[in-house]
Amino acid sequence: MIDPLMPASLTASRLAIVSGKGGVGKTTVSAALALAAGRAGKRVLLVEVEQRQAIAPLFGERLIGYEERRLAPNVTAISVEPDEALVEYLYLFYGIGRVGKVLRGTKAVDFATNVAPGLRDILLIGKVKEAERRRQEGRYVYDLIVLDAPPTGRLPRFLDAPRAVTELVSSGPIRQQAQGVLDMVTDPKRCRVVLVTLPEDMPVRETVDAADALAKMGVAVGPIVINSVLPEVFSPSKLKVLAKDAATPLAADAEQAGIRLTEDAVDGLARVTSMHARKTLSQRGAIAELDRETSIPSLHLPYIFSPRMGREEIDRLSTELEAQGMVG
């Protein structure tokens, strides 16, 4: 068992903000982390904030709304929408229930969320903070909150919103709220950003840049999840040769093994072999680059040979996280 405070674990903080370049599998990794932690006995809240409804299909659900909803043992999910969050906020802080209801569906919410810099983001992450602080019978309701966050391109602004508000507004409840959020995101015990990347050049670069930007903001980062890592099945010294021509050695091996293959079959095999070898080479390069550019520990999740991500695939990845001791 890994010490839950050890920074190498994905659950080292009670809030794990999962981000990465678009298309790297943020949502998949968030879901896998939630499942794994749930199986390890933690009560988990999985949060979506961009209204993409990307979590629901992974669990075979149609829709996840603002009501917290159970998806798996110990795993609850919510999709935080800014207008709902505003109504709830007004109710909680001002006791304004009726106005809140009147406002819903009007353009007032557009107004409120567009007028004050970052108010929208504050509302979203404020709701996350509320869940993080929520207590019942003397203990936290959730042991782990996994936030499927905006992509790295938008993340610094998203997390910086509270600071912007504290600079603009000097007192009052919204200032307090912003300060509270700021305290949470800059406390490594409470919050860390888990960056997901693919073992490819562009996502790796974006990950390195994001890690730097976040560190400057005082936000704890790590571990980095390298997602979709292809299996290394060929000997590293052979990769370059295989990338160019795999037909000759394959044909020779087949003959030696007494397996008769047609020319077409050798050709088909060779094409796949070369592609895989090229991909493995570029993957090695990208991982080496990541290791060179950052000292943040990383873990690997395997490539899933399927274009469809569903419960079965998420389960596999979550088992992998468990096996790597990543859920404390």
Binding site: G22, G23, V24, E50, Q51, R52, P57, Y94, I96, V99, V102, L103, T106, K107, A108, D110, F111, A112, N114, V115, P151, R157, L168, V169, S170, G172, P173, I174, D201, M202, R205, V233, F234, L242, A246, P249, D253, Q256, A257, G258, I259, L261, T262, D264, A265, D267, G268, L269, V272, T273, M275, H276, R278, K279, S282, F305, S306, P307, R308, M309
Partner: protein, 383 residues
Amino acid sequence: MSDLSQLLAERHVLVCVGPGGVGKTTTAAALAVRAADEGRRVIVLTIDPARRLAQSLGLDGLDNTPKRIPLEGERRQKPPGELWGMMLDMKSTFDDMILDMTSPDRAEKIFANPFYQHISSTLAGTQEYMAMEKLWELHEEGRWELIVLDTPPTRSALDFLDAPKKVTDFLEGRFLRLLLWPYLQAGKTYMKAVSFGAKAFLKVATKITGSELLEDVANFFLAFEGMYDTFKERSKRVYDLLAARRTAFVVVSAPQDASLREARYFVQRLGSEKMPLGGVVMNRTHDVASVAGLEDPRALAERARAAGDGKLLAPALELYGSWREVSIREDAAVAASLGDLTDVPVWRVPDLADDVHDMASLRQVGEALLGPLPRTRAKGESA
């Protein structure tokens, strides 16, 4: 219609749309390079290219002006085309638009307003809107035969086409002005219209944000007074340009379920808006054909292992099996999400296994989409 090379040769605007992370920018750049290689005068307008791609195209400076990109390489056409590129600077495009719409001193007043500074860079939809504004400018300049527009990764398919209306609505701000009546010093007619909710809301908003900010907002809307119609006209003409037959939308996707769902949505939305859809570029497909003799690669792999070959042949056979399955499932996923949309061509780009970040690899993408570059121009001499 299904002919991508025809689109590339004849259309004036190509708009690449699609979800994030599927290679939209790369596709836009590859199409632009290809069109230039085929002799057209092309500009590609990118939104947020990966650093290495931007660098290799010489677009790493964000100065909002077109830059000529040298078409190096040995296979150039005669007469050669031209490749230009630029990166969108949202803020200065917004500034330029305001300057174009109003008097210099009124523009200065708007620029100085803190609220303007905020919304010109952060208001949802501004980036999309400014991309379209820039598209119009480039079109008006008339220097380019083909403009390839990359678009921001929108959260939902709706965002892109809705952006101008959303931003314009916001700037028109009927509801806002209703709410901000004390700050706008409006007449008594407003009073009647102000609902209980609005009054209470204003009270709350003041409490939350402070009256200073609301004053900035009010001044901002005052400064925009009378400009809404111009805004509307401007977005209308961009909309018309997008809907014109000289334009084609290219939906970029990847063969994974999540991307395909969004791609389908884009295709349908473009259809319902009567926007000219060119087709779908399916990036990074894994096309592994079935081959006679390899029907059961795993059984063969076992035999290979039994014969002592565990290093090359056995893993190669297993990989073939895995990638073949991926290929079949990708085909099925594409068919399931786009199959019923007849006459929507799908152009595939196989996974090139390397990052696409320079001219050579962009040309490779072009070849995957359109075949090898023809040696001689089929059309007339001049572009």
